[in-house]
Symmetry: C2
Subunit: 189 residues, 2 copies
DNA sequence: TTAAAATTAGGACATTTGTCCTAAAATATA
DNA sequence: TATATTTTAGGACAAATGTCCTAATTTTAA
């Protein structure tokens, strides 16, 4: 694997687990097993690494959404795929929270240039969800429903991170899935 | 005002606006207008300042909850007081997110000793809300309802911080208030 | 007024940070 | 094989960090 790719992947993980600010060149270098000075050849600044990490997350998220699009038989199923990442990634969310939400919050507090780019991750989910709700027949308020679900998912991630309560996640995921089913019924009638 | 109090208040604000890690002794010293070396007389370490800030937030939150307890005519009203902080503190939440959630998330990522203390802020709201839902007649699942509302509030704060959308906050607050009213009806029947 | 205590300013300290340079090594190309 | 290009290691650099010491100043108490 190319060194540049290794740097991005290591930084991606470290930024998620310890935050952008708390992760140093030295930390990444140790994981990748290269000398600190060698960084400069691949990335001029720490911000450039952040840009690359965000870009990597964007493309990874896009392909995940594409996958859900293919696998899901109905819009309701696809929305439930989104909801169930809370279960699939439960362990990581307990330890480090939501990768999208925590990065966004940190960059805003740092007043960092990349905060708009980081928010594109949120927008990716928002737009995708909106389209699903439109398919479900809720054209008039699809974006509102998307924001609602995105917000609830963020909230669950936040409290899961704080309280590490598995039954809470399960309960909230069930409620959200029920909510989607109710919206599906409304569409039929 | 005492220097120690001024340090705590300045740190409180800076930790909220820029995060704990990103706030340095120098930053606080500049706001309080004292020399950097003088810190050591009041606080031995940065962690001691954090402890003091968390303690200050805990007492401030407790008195706020007491106030809501006094002002609210019914449990439903009191719960709505909680929901409406999203509106009252809208401007700050847009800029810096929820002070409880963002601190908790940061300290967990830093694997900081004070993460349990910071979580007591969450617990304060959780226990208070639980008691309100019990008063509302939902004894069997009061804690679940409390966690549900706490989570939704966290989610709204998170997305408000990211998207800065006023109408989203208002819409979500209305939905949560309606939800409380429905729970109140269920209690009467 | 004088002595004691509390508070302050200023700077030393080792460490870490992001950034940047240069010479050596590895790889590719002719 | 010989040359050119890519990639690397190691360290220099100034700035900033949290921590800690000491002497001076201010405030309090006798």
């Amino acid at each position: 694997m190319k060194t540049q790719t290794k740097i991005i992947e290591a930084a991606d993980q470290l930024f998620y687990e310890h935050g952008f600010e708390a992760t140093s060149f030295a930390h990444i270098a140790e994981v990748v097993n290269i000398s600190r000075g060698n960084f400069y050849y691949h990335f001029k600044t720490k911000d450039e690494i952040l840009d690359a990490v965000i870009l990597a997350r964007l493309t990874r998220t896009e392909s995940m959404l594409d996958q859900w699009e293919i696998e899901g038989d109905s819009a309701a199923d696809r929305i439930k795929s989104f909801i169930k990442i809370l279960i699939v990634n439960q362990t990581k969310i307990m330890k480090f929270g939501c990768p999208v939400g925590t990065l966004s919050a940190e960059l805003i507090k740092l007043d960092h240039n990349a905060q708009d780019d980081a928010n594109k991750l949120f927008t990716l989910f928002r737009v995708w969800l909106k389209r699903q709700f439109e398919t479900l027949g809720h054209n008039e308020n699809a974006d509102q429903l998307a924001m609602h679900l995105l917000g609830r998912s963020q909230g669950v991630a936040s409290l899961t991170n704080a309280f590490k309560d598995e039954s809470y996640v399960q309960s909230e995921v069930n409620q959200m899935c029920d909510w989607v089913d109710q919206l599906t019924l409304k569409q039929i009638h």
